[in-house]
Assembly symmetry: D2
Homo-oligomer: 152 residues x 4
């Protein structure tokens, strides 16, 4: 159960306070709630790139959804903790992106994950997005060109 002591570079980061709602009777942040924290940071990272949910709907008539993820829990965050959650784009494909995300309390790594988000759009154009089905598709060019370029 190692914890890295230096916070690596990332594309975006966000301070998150731990409130009562985040904790459980073990006195620590409930394991599912790190996925909420990670989602907040992904959303704000996209918004920061000019890709708010509304823009995504307009540009691509679709949205990103999580298709798979891995999580490692190393140390527990507790009530009142101020943590920093980071996100880094590590893989950019035509239909999905892979992000590495971490939660830190100062120099302690609390949890980290790798999250694949895939692009989906309504299976039938103009369908009611609250009730209609979605299907995977290519990430629209107008979205791809706003993502950070990585040397590989």
């Amino acid at each position: 159960m190692k914890t890295e002591t230096e916070r690596p570079a990332c594309d975006y980061q966000m301070a998150i306070r731990v409130y009562w709602e985040d904790t459980d009777a073990g006195g620590v942040v409930f394991y599912a709630n790190y996925l909420k924290f990670f989602e907040r940071v992904r959303t704000d990272w996209l918004r920061d790139l000019g890709l708010s949910q509304e823009t995504l709907r307009k540009l691509g008539k679709g949205m990103f959804v999580v298709s798979d993820l891995q999580m490692r829990y190393l140390r527990s965050a507790r009530l009142d903790d101020q943590i920093v959650v980071t996100t880094l784009l590590v893989e950019q494909g035509r239909v999905s992106l892979v992000l590495k995300q971490q939660a830190w309390r100062q120099d302690e790594l609390l949890a980290e994950g790798q999250v694949r988000i895939g692009w989906v759009c309504p299976a039938e154009p103009g369908a009611n997005t609250a009730t209609g089905a979605f299907k995977p598709g290519r990430i629209p060019e107008d979205i791809l060109k706003l993502l950070p370029v990585r040397q590989s």
Copy 2:
């Protein structure tokens, strides 16, 4: 801080187990989560009357939303507790219903509330319910006639 010792009659009740997700670092069920429990019971009560969410959308092109509520918290539910949550229709109007709801652990009243749910339908017919606006309206007759009749 009195707790009634006899469970009054109700229209519908449901056993709910308390899991880690429901608790907070105080070791008890987080206060907002009783509203989740109450919503589950209202939804199952409506479904039991033949009014699933899908039927509501078909019959009335709308749904019920909470417009106001009062809550009293008397005793705390804890991890692993098996509680019983009840609902009773106490007021039936043309645009809203009022439900009295309680959470019990055996003969201990833990929390109780009064919840007004109002009928809303899309502000523009055929609008995308995920993004469009809703406006209050009269509860459709096909729904009203399925509700329990009270003598008054």
Copy 3:
């Protein structure tokens, strides 16, 4: 269903962004989640007064818990909305405080509530707070003197 158009004075306010986790299939913030937002603001207001959860435990060996509340839901917050949640101390007793809290989107009042928080401390001194019982008690003087004084 009136919405006040001027934001009244308050003791503390906080900007809150609406994320996916806060919304439901109706496309709006789930009604129980306003109680999460209100709790965040109460906690930060107390922290701002010098009363972090840790300080509360040290000063008073106890904590505040919600004993009753009223909520009114006027308009819906949606994904990506930036809202402002306020809190105002409207009643200060020896065993409880009453706070008026509101959620605003610019000049639209979305929801408002009145929340009574009562002081509780372990029923037996030194008990494990995760498993032991709590009992209501007088708010410690060291806490009372940090609260804003109101003319009445």
Copy 4:
């Protein structure tokens, strides 16, 4: 994105109804909430083996916590869906267990995950579990002997 069409054998399963609280503005179950469903089933599986949270505390003075997990999301659950969530013990070590868990809607696999839960006990005996630290340790024999035996 394949979906298996036959539900494999498992150690324990549980029907779970999707309520408003579980969904998000995309009209589907929010991705973090499958972790809540999986936790409910693990807890009920342990309880069914005679290992309620209270028994775990008594037998071993500790509890299981999630140390790592992988998730795959294949299809979306929606409001009112009745799903079945399963759990299967696939690895039993001295300090942790690995469970394979799946969520099904009839013959459609919606999501699946592999979850490692490790045993932790208070770092200092008799510490307040709400505020004290935990450390990993060997799963107590009294707990191990209640787990299903696998041929290997």
